[in-house]
């Protein structure tokens, strides 16, 4: 979480200096990624939205590789083809993200179908935001998953904003989790700033999916503590007290309080963790900035597998 916070501060700064092109911070939403990481198994697949990169890193995706992606350089696994914050990390079953809202929901359902067909113990997790509940594939994916009773967990991170549109304008439903009722499976709303609650809710949904109980929807209520992205200015639309309310529910501070109460965290540990995160991010930035842009030849590769290269 400290690493995520460090990344957000540093990368937004670098974007402002023109050193990376774009950044989508996750500040305020870190407990969802961390709680998910604690709950999922190696066999589970993650279909991310914009703010789940911390989950890829927690699962073992290299910070340096991620930094190459943010800098869109020649060592980015996707050769700088996507805007920053759209990483691909197959080695940790983290699916390449697109900027299109909601499409990953139906895709996660299809992957879950494959898992069920092959008697794979894994579960597919689809992450998306409150805005995505208005998109076509939310309905299509939820409906498929219910009708075919598939091992998928829909992780709806309600950060209360779809860029400038407040969730109250997104839907007439007060509790988004209730939408699951229409598809015939369980939906719960929990406090997504509390790692323990996130973990518990996911554990229950994952256990249900693994034992043939079908899909679940979990609504994680969080506060988007930053602009939507480096291209956004919330002062145009967000009431001033939103951040004040959000700060009272800062997931990092909440977890720190819990751990201090349990006596497993003190100032010394906080300092060490922060210094370590800072050093890792600095070193990764240095490495990525020293890397050349993608080779011009990569413009035309990976459209199709070249003939004669064998399998897919």
């Amino acid at each position: 979480m400290i690493l995520g916070r460090t990344l957000d501060e540093r990368m937004l700064g670098l974007q402002r200096q023109g050193r990376i092109g774009f950044y989508g911070p996750a500040t305020g939403q870190e407990a969802v990624s961390l709680g998910a990481w604690l709950a999922i198994a190696e066999s589970d697949w993650v279909f991310p939205g914009l703010r789940e990169q911390l989950l890829a890193l927690a699962r073992g995706h290299s910070l340096v590789t991620y930094m190459h992606h943010l800098f869109a350089d020649d060592l980015d696994p996707a050769r700088g083809r996507q805007m920053p914050c759209h990483p691909t990390a197959r080695e940790v079953r983290y699916v390449s993200m697109s900027s299109v809202i909601g499409t990953q929901i139906s895709q996660a359902v299809g992957l879950a179908y494959g898992q069920k067909l092959r008697h794979d113990p894994g579960v597919a997790l689809a992450f998306f935001g409150d805005g995505a509940t208005s998109a076509n594939d939310f309905h299509a994916g939820m409906n498929f998953a219910g009708a075919l009773s598939l091992p998928v967990v829909f992780c709806l991170t309600n950060n209360q904003w779809a860029i400038s549109i407040p969730v109250q304008r997104q839907t007439h439903v007060d509790v988004l989790a209730e939408k699951a009722n229409a598809y015939g499976f369980s939906g719960v709303r929990i406090d997504g700033t509390d790692v323990v609650a996130v973990h518990a809710a996911l554990k229950e949904a994952l256990d249900r999916a693994r034992t043939g109980g079908g899909p679940s929807l979990i609504e994680f209520v969080v506060f988007r503590m930053t602009p939507h992205s480096s291209s956004d200015d919330p002062s145009r639309y967000q009431p001033a007290d939103f951040l004040v309310r959000g700060r009272a529910r800062d997931p990092v501070a909440r977890l720190a309080r819990l751990l201090r109460d349990r006596g497993v965290l003190d100032d010394e540990v906080v300092r060490t963790v922060a210094a370590d995160a800072d050093a890792r991010v600095r070193s990764a930035v240095k490495e990525a900035e020293a890397t050349a842009p993608p080779d011009a030849r990569s413009l035309t590769t990976d459209v199709f597998l070249p003939p004669g290269s064998g399998g897919g």
């Binding site: 697949w45 980015d76 696994p77 996707a78 050769r79 083809r81 996507q82 759209h86 691909t88 990390a89 197959r90 699916v95 390449s96 697109s98 299109v100 499409t103 929901i105 139906s106 895709q107 996660a108 359902v109 299809g110 992957l111 879950a112 179908y113 494959g114 898992q115 067909l117 092959r118 597919a124 076509n136 594939d137 309905h139 299509a140 994916g141 409906n143 498929f144 009708a147 075919l148 590769t301 990976d302 459209v303 199709f304 597998l305 399998g311 897919g312």
Partner: protein, 325 residues
């Protein structure tokens, strides 16, 4: 070798591919118990069960999205969109996702998916059971677009598509699903994607077409032959990848070209063939490239025979092409 129809050849290809590879599975609307509204998937559920012949809810975006997820997992899904006219809800999944996964992931996430869909007019299907939407897909980098015109090619091209590691939009000319029978090789018969075929050799005018337009083109070629005109009929078979060499070779020989498709003319696939000829065969051309196409209107119901190119219109264009220059 057996004499079967085009739709039976599709069915045969699916049977053979599913027997050969347990990773191949089908999904779509009404494809299981009902065997598909055109019976393309008849009998498959009986042999392979409902887990591999999946009747889905009525949602094209769900079908294609799920097919993508299955492919990301390592399966080889063949999705059926019941009519090409109904594919648009899935357009986002096809254009934004299916076509881009390999590229955007640096090859980590290829999409081994086939989307089969009956297309085209001539069955009294009106606006929404008749469209030829191939150009939308051919325009999108990352998709292959394949259209057979006879039973043997239907089996050979579909088998190649199913075992191709990239997404293939496989369009089936429903007007001739049962109109003709032809001999189809048994076993693992494959026609490579990206190879046009010379349906009828000729020396005066080249005619390029695909799918359900091949029969009227052949009829037109026969008609002008009686007048002493020799038309070479080339079935493109695959729009992406396009067999440019076959197109250029034919026009270098004849110096004249007519392109036929039932889709509307404006920005139709014929425009791409015409541009190719302008760029790479201009000095071989003796007369302007001509197109015989559907009109720039929505697809009509009562007047569909007026809308669709027929042998008469095609023969007229061949004569005009031969006369000019």
């Amino acid at each position: 070798m057996t004499e079967i129809t085009l739709v039976q050849a599709v069915n045969r290809a699916l049977f053979d591919a599913m027997r050969a590879d347990p990773d191949v599975l089908l999904l779509g609307e009404d494809i299981g118990v009902n065997g598909g509204v055109f019976r393309a998937t008849e009998g498959l559920i009986k042999e392979f069960g409902p887990e591999r012949v999946v009747d889905t809810p009525l949602s094209e975006t769900g079908i294609v999205g799920a097919a993508i997820g299955m492919a990301l997992y390592g399966l080889k899904p063949v999705a059926e969109i019941q009519f090409l006219d109904f594919i648009y809800p899935a357009f986002d999944q096809i254009v934004s996702e299916l076509a881009k996964f390999r590229y955007r992931s640096g090859g980590q996430y290829p999409c081994h998916v086939v989307i089969r869909s009956p297309y085209g007019g001539g069955i009294k299907g009106g606006l929404y059971h008749s469209q030829s939407a191939e150009a939308y897909f051919a325009h999108t980098a990352g998709l292959k677009v394949v259209i057979p015109s006879n039973p043997a090619d239907a089996k050979g091209l579909l088998t190649s598509a199913i075992f191709d590691p990239d997404p293939v939009i496989f369009l089936e000319p429903k007007r001739i699903y049962r109109a003709v029978t032809g001999e189809v090789p048994d076993g693992d018969h494959r026609v490579p994607l990206g190879s046009a075929s010379i349906v009828r050799p000729g020396s005066d005018v080249s005619v390029f077409a695909y799918g359900a337009m091949i029969p009227p083109v052949v009829e037109a070629a026969k008609a002008v032959q009686a007048e002493g005109l020799s038309a070479e009929v080339i079935d493109l078979r695959s729009l992406v990848p396009l067999d440019e060499a076959a197109i250029l070779k034919s026009v270098e020989k004849t110096g004249r070209a007519v392109i036929v498709h039932e889709a509307p003319r404006f920005v139709g696939f014929g425009a791409e063939v015409a541009a190719l000829l302008a760029e790479k065969a201009l000095y071989s051309l003796k007369s302007p490239v001509r197109r015989v196409t559907g009109y720039d209107t929505p697809f009509p119901y009562a007047l569909e025979n007026l809308y669709l190119p027929n042998a008469e219109r095609i023969a007229h264009a061949i004569r005009a092409s031969a006369r000019e220059g």
